[in-house]
Amino acid sequence: MFQIARLEDPNVKILPENLGKPRLTAITQVIEDLYVDKVVKDLGLVVTLYEIVSIEGGTVYPGEGSAHFHVVFKAVVFRPFVGEVLEGVLKKSDRKGLYVHLGFFDDVFVPEHMLQEPSAFDEEEQLWVWNYQNSRMFMDLDEPVRFRCSSVRFPEQPRNAKALDGNSPQLGRTYEGNFAPMVIVGDVNADGLGLTSWWQQETE
């Protein structure tokens, strides 16, 4: 799920009031405020800072009191690889597919054409059902679900709320109507995938 990325920020600004602190402390603070819990487009979600590799500079420009540093650092980034098998909790279903949460990341979407075959949407219960060997296996909410990462998308930020509304979940529209800058598209179309309760080993 996680990888280490090496990033470079040539313009880390330490405000004058923080220049009394040890340099490493002040710079770490600024970098963490800027990057942790943010999605870097085409890379992933920065979960935590791993280490500061180098700090150069300390230039003060005319007209302001802040010091500017050139910093290279490593961050731990959440970015599943294609084919990785992950487990989350099914939070919502609708005609378009499943919405799964991972605890620290909420934008996993399984489109309806990537569900176990054959599946059907039960309008009454508003749940997806897998019709397996004549038994109807309901995909109940709040159940643990195992899925495979099919792709990781970084949708373009739409210009306004109206443009967002017309978008599909893969384009970043969450079921609450918000914008998701990072979307994981998953599939549950193989043995072992779907609700984990379906595949538990029977004791012999």
Binding site: E32, L34, P181, D191
Partner: protein, 145 residues
């Protein structure tokens, strides 16, 4: 190079403005210097959330919400109970099976308990692993992961 925009996952709208110009200059020097297992990240987060006394970075603040959520989520996965020694033993023990690093990572993170899961995590499993090897993997998983 291309400019990078940033957004907070939990927020509804992107907050442009303050600090944005600084961000545009940011460069990704290397997107993937190495994969990190859930266990390794949990170790790092334990230091951040002050569970262990030794730190990689000075403790400058209380842990961020994402770090706490990540830590809480990962503790409930198999990573929560793993140890460095056992993972090292596991990696050594599966060497003869010729798994890719990604498959090895997937196995460590998932701790499979059934045949079906092994087939899911190892590509072309039927061609690459004999049934006895699948059994062996399941035993290693139960003992070491």
């Amino acid at each position: 190079g291309a400019g990078f925009t940033w957004t907070r996952v939990a927020d509804a709208c992107v907050a442009f403005g303050r600090g944005r110009s600084a961000f545009v200059a940011m460069k990704v020097l290397c997107a993937n210097e190495g994969l990190m297992s859930n266990f390794e990240l949990l170790e790092v987060l334990r230091q951040r959330t002050r569970e262990t006394p030794v730190a990689l970075l000075p403790h400058v603040h209380d842990p961020f919400p994402t770090e706490m959520q990540c830590s809480d989520t990962l503790k409930k996965t198999p990573a929560g109970a793993q140890t460095k020694e056992n993972l090292a033993k596991f990696i050594k023990a599966v060497e003869p099976l010729n798994l890719t690093p990604a498959e090895c990572l997937n196995l460590i993170n998932s701790k499979p308990t059934t045949d079906v899961e092994i087939h899911l995590l190892v590509e072309d499993c039927e061609k690459r692993l004999k049934e006895s090897e699948v059994e062996h993997l399941l035993k290693l998983s139960a003992d070491l992961l």
